[in-house]
Symmetry: C2
Subunit: 458 residues, 2 copies
Amino acid sequence: MSIPDALAALSSLLGDRLVRAGSDLDLHGRSETHFPLTPPDAVAYPRSTEEVQALVRICAEQGCPVIGWGAGTSLEGHGLAVQGGVVVDFRDMNRVLEVRHADMDCAVQPGITREELNTELRATGLFFPVDPGANASLGGMAMTRASGTTAVRYGTMRDNVLGLEVVLADGRVIRTGTRARKSAAGYDLTGLMVGSEGTLGLVTELTLRLHGQPEAVSAAVCGFDRIEQAVAAVIDTIQMGLPMARIEFLDAATVEAVNAYAGMSLAPRPYLLVEFHGSEAGVAEQAEAFGEIIADHGAIGYDWATRPEDRKALWTMRHNAYYAMLAWRPGTRGVVTDICVPISRLAEAVEATTADIARSGIPGPILGHVGDGNFHAVLLVDPENAEEMKIAQGLSHRMAERALDLGGTCTGEHGVGLGKMPYMAREHGDGWDVMGQIKQALDPQNLMNPGKLVPPRS
Amino acid sequence: MSIPDALAALSSLLGDRLVRAGSDLDLHGRSETHFPLTPPDAVAYPRSTEEVQALVRICAEQGCPVIGWGAGTSLEGHGLAVQGGVVVDFRDMNRVLEVRHADMDCAVQPGITREELNTELRATGLFFPVDPGANASLGGMAMTRASGTTAVRYGTMRDNVLGLEVVLADGRVIRTGTRARKSAAGYDLTGLMVGSEGTLGLVTELTLRLHGQPEAVSAAVCGFDRIEQAVAAVIDTIQMGLPMARIEFLDAATVEAVNAYAGMSLAPRPYLLVEFHGSEAGVAEQAEAFGEIIADHGAIGYDWATRPEDRKALWTMRHNAYYAMLAWRPGTRGVVTDICVPISRLAEAVEATTADIARSGIPGPILGHVGDGNFHAVLLVDPENAEEMKIAQGLSHRMAERALDLGGTCTGEHGVGLGKMPYMAREHGDGWDVMGQIKQALDPQNLMNPGKLVPPRS
């Protein structure tokens, strides 16, 4: 019983779709952020649920860790094989299995990315709204409970995954949820699996809720002199119940970075980027109401992108903000923070964070999904510079602690992975042990993405 | 180690707030529906989380079952002490602890009912939208994952419980969730607890999401010649993405019953009752779009209740439908079914059910939250008449099987309780065993509402 024995058996199962050497291991040992290279022992490319099941059974017999992999866009090192083992890359399980137009749902394999899915849906009048920015895989998005720019209107993956097919640690295959829109039939296993980061099993199929493409869409950008004004405008907007489709905050440093990267020329000050979805009349009414709110808070300009290509440029700019920041300070990596606080504490959280970053000397643009109370500081550091890394980690640590002080969470949408383990005990108290008990019950050998999410076994 | 020992210790803890004899036991042994009288050994009335914790610790030591009790409005016998033990009635834990206007949430104790909560919220401009009809307790609603008339717009308890305080089977107290609107920090324990029917612990506090009272509300009723027309209109409405606040179906038999009970004089045919929430202009736009849809499906009349008192009369009629039915056939009890199917299969499900009921000779009015694909037949039987009960149970059984055949669920909103246990294995497959493993991990002695939801222990 060993990892080498598992690899031998997996080679028989998968042939050259089990890769045991070379650059592929490094590729699956990297993260988008600052975590050190951690190559797995092998990478597997299964093509069916049956193959995943056979793979998991072999690993269970041989005591070999199993780690799922989608598009590799996680920001917290979720896919890193910190205890060795096999990374299961869902590259070859990336199809749309069925679109059920009448029910406004679809069944997909885990490896499909959100952009691929929406391209396939384009002609149907439907779309999948969850948009974390990166072109992540749907399996990965479910496992990290991803959200992003549209969650304020359409919810997170928690709200948009209707059901899952999961291969459990012992090789059983379960289907959670039904195709009905709601159910009161027992524990919500779909909800338990969404956000479980591969620690309870591997997802091999997802049933996703789709939404009608809005009749009218309109986007706008408005600037403010001070961060507090922008945040106060967001708070008023949410409390007024305006059904914003997106409401995003960028600080002046973020704007400088995206200007350089995207060839824009926004004046470097804090901005809100917003989008309205609805009927023509509804969108006009929302836009007017929002215009009144921001005017009350001293907005500078309220510029509209009504043509689809202008809207696309706006959101491409937002989506590329992370890469823009890295390009803005060449040679750096990002320590990406991800706190989420009650809306009433948002101004306080952003202000304290801004002041803390300013004192540190590290560049740290701030941006976020402020309609949810969720924002990120991207701390740009040279990963080889121990002093800078230490300063960044101190800032990141104080942000997480501040979020907990304010009744919030250490991670709004990126997940626990490796980076947020230190805060789980404080955020959940005995609830963290409850998570460990659930893990122990369903994965007693601790083979599914070990070292993540639950308390270390003593 | 015994139930009598537990009761002795609980008497010392609670004094006369532990009731061990008399009518109180019967009152807590009854259900709203057809389940036989099942009095517990005692009823406890705790006043604080600390008392609940002490109570649970005593019961854990003595091996005494513990069953939570809210308003007693469950339709599936959730609160019945089928293995004896103590029913914990949250009558004295019914306060609103805090309303956080800026965050649009509140903290409440489990015993408060939804009407009491909304009365307390009236002056705030906020409301709690989940409305199962009965004036249920919020604790009970969370534990059964209740939904009701407004779920099509505002979601179910799954969507509106942000966090919980739970006393676990071993007496540990955990707080799930944070006050932030979203989190990716580990397993969704709030979601696991919502719908767990008291089998994992007792809820002692809930953090609930509130919504802004809509600027404009308007309600309407429209009739149809045939059920299929009404259902087809619902399907089109949902697919058009109209943001209905409520869309309810009543069949002709339901209308006859409510006419008699509420002194109404609706012509006995199938109806849709709808409500729109939004701005003045938004509501008008929705109402017009809905009017066009129903006209396409041959609607007869489209009558508006614009005055608050008329709207109230309309929804009171809907909410009292169950009692109206019981009064319509005096001496009967209801076997209440609760299936939920994909919207695309709704017409088929309603038609097959209607035909089956018509053949049976049992009165069985149908009504439901058709925007979710969820509907109920209320089978009116004399519970002393074994033949009628058998026919009703056959109908109920075929409805549940039909829902599963159509990709739906055996319970859309009432929960498993005692009535839906026979369908859990088919609905969930190995997933039901996974529920059993979670229960075993968190309640190894099987003391929290034993006999409900999970597979019986062998």
